[in-house]
């Protein structure tokens, strides 16, 4: 059951769009839809991956965010240089909490900010010399790095620096991969293109580095793709896979290393968690190395069971038994979590507005807890994401693409969800409106949420947020009852 009927939702969309000028209204209308599970393709109902309207508040990021922040950043033994002015690197530093094992500054570098700190003279005379010098300094100070990636910021593209030449020269001198990534922020409409550019640069500079070299294979080798180990997600996923008998060769890219990435072409199956940010490289490996890929979902017991069985179907009976064994082992634990939290969360309504995979992947986890997702949307999805979302969401629920700040607030006012899951930019707006909110980009400083261990944390967090007593204290004491008369107030009288 959706929060509103189809007609009511339709009326709500019309009402919200009313404030826009005619042209903007027409454009925004294409990005909003009411879900219909019967639909095969989202194409006719929703437009996505289009430029945001000038003048509205969008929550999107840029191509640099997609490349440095999402794909390249979490690789722990590669140093990613933010090439350009200092702000992009500094304000994006360590924000996603991609956990890793290693000593920061010695053999792992994710939490550090390496930047060429462009000044006026670099814009005027070009920053190539500075970049070459910077790479030399990095090599002197951090000799245990396994490679360097150069993440371009906007000015580098605007002034036309030849970072490829610098990279080639440095790679020869250092004898390790130096990867130029042309992920200037102005490219594309959102961070999505950054993912694509990052995938392409991995394809061109990393993936075939160890072709033809010896690698001790087993028939059970897999790679985890598109898991960025936010709050330890990839670890919670990895133990399930290892317990069922698979060997995880690589983690892309949370807690991943360059060597793992280079060895990935030897695996039997690529397991793809975030489809949006890593489908490109999966498709490439499928074509070049004949490695099939599979999308899976490790949010909530129902989806975990489904995914484990689906993964096992690619392997022989020992893995299939392994999958059943893992499911049997964790079912009592999951049932206990559900028994504890479901009564407290039953029937609560959730609205989501996140990125990549979460608006559809977490639906199952919420349903396991008896909650219902009444609205979902993506910042930067493409139509294939919406094709997948339609099937997960209930009928007549609201789906919004690149929703504007105004629209989201109005939808929330009308639909009155019990919980909103979105990003940090939305968090305090909704806190001030008195709506429970979880920051679902980096799990609100909690996590992991993937896997069986993650589900326990997920359920606890949702309960802590929704049933927090603070939501009853949103009204100031003097607003609670209509004031009778100021003169009758004993305090005032005393004064």
């Amino acid at each position: 059951m959706a929060a509103l009927t189809r007609e009511e939702t339709e009326a709500l969309i019309q009402e919200v769009l009313e404030v826009y000028p005619e042209k903007a209204k027409k454009d925004r209308a294409k990005h909003l839809m009411i879900n219909d599970k019967e639909l095969e393709s989202s194409k006719k109902c929703i437009t996505s991956n289009r430029k945001s309207l000038p003048g509205v508040m969008t929550m999107r990021g840029c191509a640099y965010a997609g490349s440095k922040g999402v794909v390249w950043g979490p690789i722990k033994d590669i140093i990613s240089i933010s090439h350009g002015p200092i702000g992009c690197g500094q304000y994006a530093r360590a924000g996603r909490r991609n956990y890793y094992v290693g000593t920061t500054g010695v053999d792992a570098f994710c939490e550090m900010n390496f930047t060429s700190d462009f000044q006026e003279k670099d814009i005027v005379f070009g920053g190539d010399k500075k970049l070459a010098k910077l790479i030399g300094e990095i090599e002197g100070l951090f000799p245990l790095n396994k490679g360097i990636s150069i993440q371009s910021e906007c000015p580098v593209g605007l002034i036309g620096d030849d970072i490829e030449a610098v990279a080639k020269k440095a790679a020869k001198e250092l004898n390790k991969p130096v990867v130029p990534v042309r992920c200037e922020g102005f490219r594309g409409v959102s961070q999505s293109l950054g993912h694509h550019i990052a995938n392409d640069s991995v394809r061109d500079w990393i993936i075939s580095n160890r072709d033809g070299k010896d690698f001790e294979k087993t028939p059970y080798d897999v790679a985890i793709l598109g898991d960025y180990n936010i709050g330890g997600d990839a670890w919670a996923s990895r133990i399930l896979l290892e317990e069922m008998g698979l060997r995880v060769v690589a983690q892309w890219s949370g807690d991943g290393t360059l060597a793992e990435m280079e060895n990935t072409p030897n695996v039997k199956l690529n397991l793809l968690h975030c489809y949006r940010s890593m489908n490109y490289i999966s498709r490439h490996m499928e074509e070049k190395y004949g490695i099939p890929w599979l999308e899976y979902n490790f949010f909530g017991p129902t989806k975990i069971r489904e995914s484990l069985r689906k993964i096992a179907s690619f392997f022989d009976d020992s893995i299939k038994e392994g999958a059943e064994r893992v499911i049997a082992k964790y079912t009592p634990m999951m049932d206990a979590v559900i028994a504890k939290y479901k009564p407290r969360l039953q029937g609560k309504k959730v609205m989501l507005y996140v990125g990549g995979l979460r608006p559809r992947h977490v639906v199952g986890a919420y349903e396991d807890l008896g909650m219902e997702v009444v609205g979902a949307g993506y910042e930067f999805a493409h139509n294939d994401d919406y094709d997948r979302t339609i099937k997960e969401m209930g009928d007549a629920t609201l789906i919004y693409d690149d929703v504007t700040g105004y629209e989201f607030e109005e939808f929330v006012k009308a639909m009155k969800p019990d919980l909103i899951g979105s990003g940090i930019k939305e968090k305090y707006v909704f806190h001030k409106m008195g709506v429970p909110f979880r920051q679902l980009h980096s799990w609100d400083y909690s996590g992991p949420y993937h896997g069986c261990d993650g589900f326990a944390v997920f359920a606890k967090d949702m309960d802590l947020t929704i049933n927090n007593p603070c939501w009853n204290l949103m009204q100031a004491p003097w607003q609670e009852k209509p004031a009778k008369s100021l003169l009758k107030d004993p305090l005032l009288k005393a004064a």
Binding site: S41, K43, N49, H196, Y280, R283, E286, E287, G290, H382, N383, D384
Partner: protein, 73 residues
């Protein structure tokens, strides 16, 4: 002309264009024999593309240049 990738799914050929991130089923392909493969392909979304007829690729997925005849983006 654009690069496309053709894959095989359990329901037949699948069309994918990396540049624009368009993925769709291929409803019909003009030539689909070992010796002659390609020609005009029609997509589930109503688009049509043309691949120069050639020997069928040994392994799918396969990247190939294609020309847009008629199509939705």
């Amino acid at each position: 002309m654009a690069n496309i990738m053709i894959r095989k799914s359990d329901k037949g050929y699948v069309f994918y264009m990396p540049k624009r991130d368009i993925e769709d089923s291929i409803v019909s392909m003009e030539f689909d024999t070992a010796g002659k493969w390609g020609g005009e392909i029609k997509l589930g979304n109503g688009g049509a593309y043309y691949i120069e007829p050639q020997a069928a690729p040994a392994r799918l997925p396969y990247s190939v240049r294609a020309r847009r005849i008629d199509g939705v983006e």
